[in-house]
Symmetry: none
Subunit: 413 residues, 2 copies
């Protein structure tokens, strides 16, 4: 089965946002054995949307569209797709009720313009949007099934997984992807190590994708059935994981925070986090994992020296002698957090995220991380590069990785 992805909106065509929806949908379709032929992005111009839908429908079995389902004058996708399908738009009372309820929950009347979000091409299927007012729909154009989703990524993703997957036809091809998520080794070192034991160019194909310190090793097998693909992948992924050892923190959708959460659960341990330069990012990432509240007792963002002393008991003398960005202060933060919260593990991070605040001895990107456990306190110093945001991201990842490795030692993988 072949698919085409069509994004609608001036915000994409003028470059105001990069089209992450097309990339996400491509990955999902690949996982379903659907070959994506290409992407296109068109402006909020009805005639151009109609032409693009027709052309995409001529070339493929499946067209996935995003964007242009809002309530304002520049949202023209529903009108354009109905025109391409040659059907009128009709009202869906259930969708209208859902939109009214969303406004009512905020104590508001639904503005009249939102009513058009409850209209859909006749003969199509409505795809419910649990997260907003822009429901999607499916309709047939020529020989193709055209699925239309809103452009807001979180809503689009939830609707694809919840509303579209059950409607897709069988593909008779299996493209199965397995990913090993790695942290703590460079892309080229990982490639070199795997190149010695695996054929990187055969089937499954192997690719490497770096992102702010995380390296994803992607294995893609293309066969007739999922069982065959899995049988090809299983031994290959297993050998790769063995060769990379504790560098691998998980598979597929795993994140460093989900790996830490899993190990906290497996070990029954609790954690508390004291952050300075990362400003709450470690704590926020951990709370993205549902159910973390049983293991994450507390977080503190102690930006000022006074807060480090008052909250965590960092001795004030340290600020004068070694400075706030130092091994000693990171250790004192970690130990203070552990003691005061009663958690098994206490984390402390202090550093200079920039752009200002650096000095010749402590340049921007200097980060100290400490982890206090019942037995000992471990410490790492990193010299990170990049923008303020990138330094915060990398520091937070190193901190999560330190917790992960410490927990691994106590519970095993």
């Amino acid at each position: 089965m072949q698919a085409f992805i069509l994004s609608v909106g001036d915000e994409v065509v003028t470059g105001q946002i990069a089209d992450t929806n097309a990339a996400w949908l491509s990955q999902r379709l690949l996982g379903l054995g659907v070959v994506v032929l290409g992407h296109a992005a068109v402006r909020d111009v009805e005639a151009e949307i109609i032409a693009a839908v027709r052309r995409a429908a001529e070339r493929s079995d499946l067209v996935l569209m995003t964007g242009g389902l809002g309530p304002t004058h520049d949202d023209l996708t529903r009108e354009a797709v109905a025109a391409a399908a040659g059907t009128p738009l009709i009202n869906d009372p259930a969708s209208l009720e859902h939109i009214r309820e969303i406004f009512a929950a905020r104590g508001l009347e639904m503005p009249a313009s939102n009513a058009k979000q409850a209209t859909f091409p006749q003969g199509g299927d409505v795809i419910f949007n649990p997260g907003g007012t822009a429901a999607g729909f499916r309709v047939t154009v020529g020989r193709a099934s055209v699925f239309v989703l809103p452009g807001v990524p979180s809503e689009m993703r939830a609707m694809f997984d919840g509303g579209i997957l059950p409607l897709l036809p069988e593909t008779h091809t299996a493209i199965v992807v397995r990913m090993l998520k790695c942290f703590g080794m460079s892309e080229s070192m990982i490639a070199e190590r795997l190149g010695r034991i695996l054929d990187l160019y055969g089937n499954p194909r192997v690719a490497f994708l770096p992102s702010a310190g995380t390296i994803t090793v992607k294995f893609t097998a293309t066969t007739a059935t999922r069982a065959e693909a899995t049988a090809l992948l299983e031994p290959m992924v297993g050998r790769a994981a063995e060769a990379l050892g504790e560098v691998v923190f998980g598979e597929d959708d795993a994140t460093l925070q989900s790996a830490v959460a899993r190990l906290l659960k497996a070990s029954g341990k609790t954690l508390a986090v004291a952050e300075s330069c990362t400003g709450g990012l470690v704590c926020h990432w951990l709370t993205e994992v549902p159910g973390i509240s049983e293991h994450l007792l507390e977080g503190a963002v102690t930006y000022s020296n006074a807060a480090k002393t008052r909250r965590l008991g960092v001795p004030p003398a340290l600020f004068d002698t070694v400075g706030a960005v130092s091994e000693e202060v990171a250790r004192a933060m970690a130990e203070g957090m552990r003691e005061q919260s009663g958690a098994d593990l206490g984390l402390g991070i202090t550093g200079i995220a920039g752009p200002s605040g650096g000095s010749p001895e402590k340049p921007v990107g200097t980060v100290h991380i400490a982890l206090a456990t019942p037995e000992r306190t471990v410490h790492q110093k990193w010299s990170l590069v990049g923008t303020r945001t990138l330094i915060q991201f990398r520091a937070a990842k190193y901190a999560l990785n330190l917790i992960r490795l410490e927990l691994l030692r106590s519970v095993g993988r």
Copy 2:
């Protein structure tokens, strides 16, 4: 002048990477007064690239292509563009010498496969690549000028600014964009209010872009000169900002956190933040703003009831009577944080981000936000929808907006 952007490569079409090159080129072209008609991405398949180049050249004056200029068997862009132009590829000795030098600088012989990177369509212009072996080129296809650049973003960007800008014809058009960033009113309500005082369809054009509660109102003026465009925009943006009032938190790149940081600085006030369901996100967003450390004294993530009591002095009785997710606890968190940190403003957030933890009386998405000031404590209750991450994002934005509005009242905009 009208342009089309064409990206070549399986890594884009399979979604391994999002196409940031197309977005970057669109922004640059917009700044030059060139209208971008659309984007497309095609696979590393020669016939598909040829068809896409021809189609893009039929529709526009200018085609900008990226990707597929590497030395390996799956790099087919130069062959495909030459075929579309109907000209053979010929050798360029200067380019070959540059590639040899790049390898020589690393003490290496140039591999034979790199020689094809020194071939270009006859009659075209070579675009030098100071950063790598993949030189670009310009060639005419039909009535269009086709510019071809490598896919590596840093090389592509340097070559566009250094090699392509001087070759572009004059546009005699200026396209200038201004954006108003809004929070606290729905897209449809903003559009309705502006529709009463402005022509949304004229020049400047008005568009709306929602993103997790933030609505960007974008004004695009297309005229002969930048001065004319600015003269058109100035009064229109001014009237819109006046009509929307405090819903507008800034322009262009502004975020709610940068608006709060600006107001904290203007008022000389300090802030401390106590978070439960948002898990540190408010604090992290604030620390994305350089220099915030002077005004953000402290953050606390108090997930457990015990931490709420120990850190913030929330009376334990409240958990039994009204529960942790309640107005009373939000107020106690805000007031406790304010007192214990010594900050002028104390924020407290408690809610249910889901997916579990909801009940009929307090469903997932119930969020209480309180802000304690020297004079009073204000409180808001929200019923938010969406995934766990989206509820956290929206709750954090409502919290930042509450701080912003409170600061506005004390310092004026």
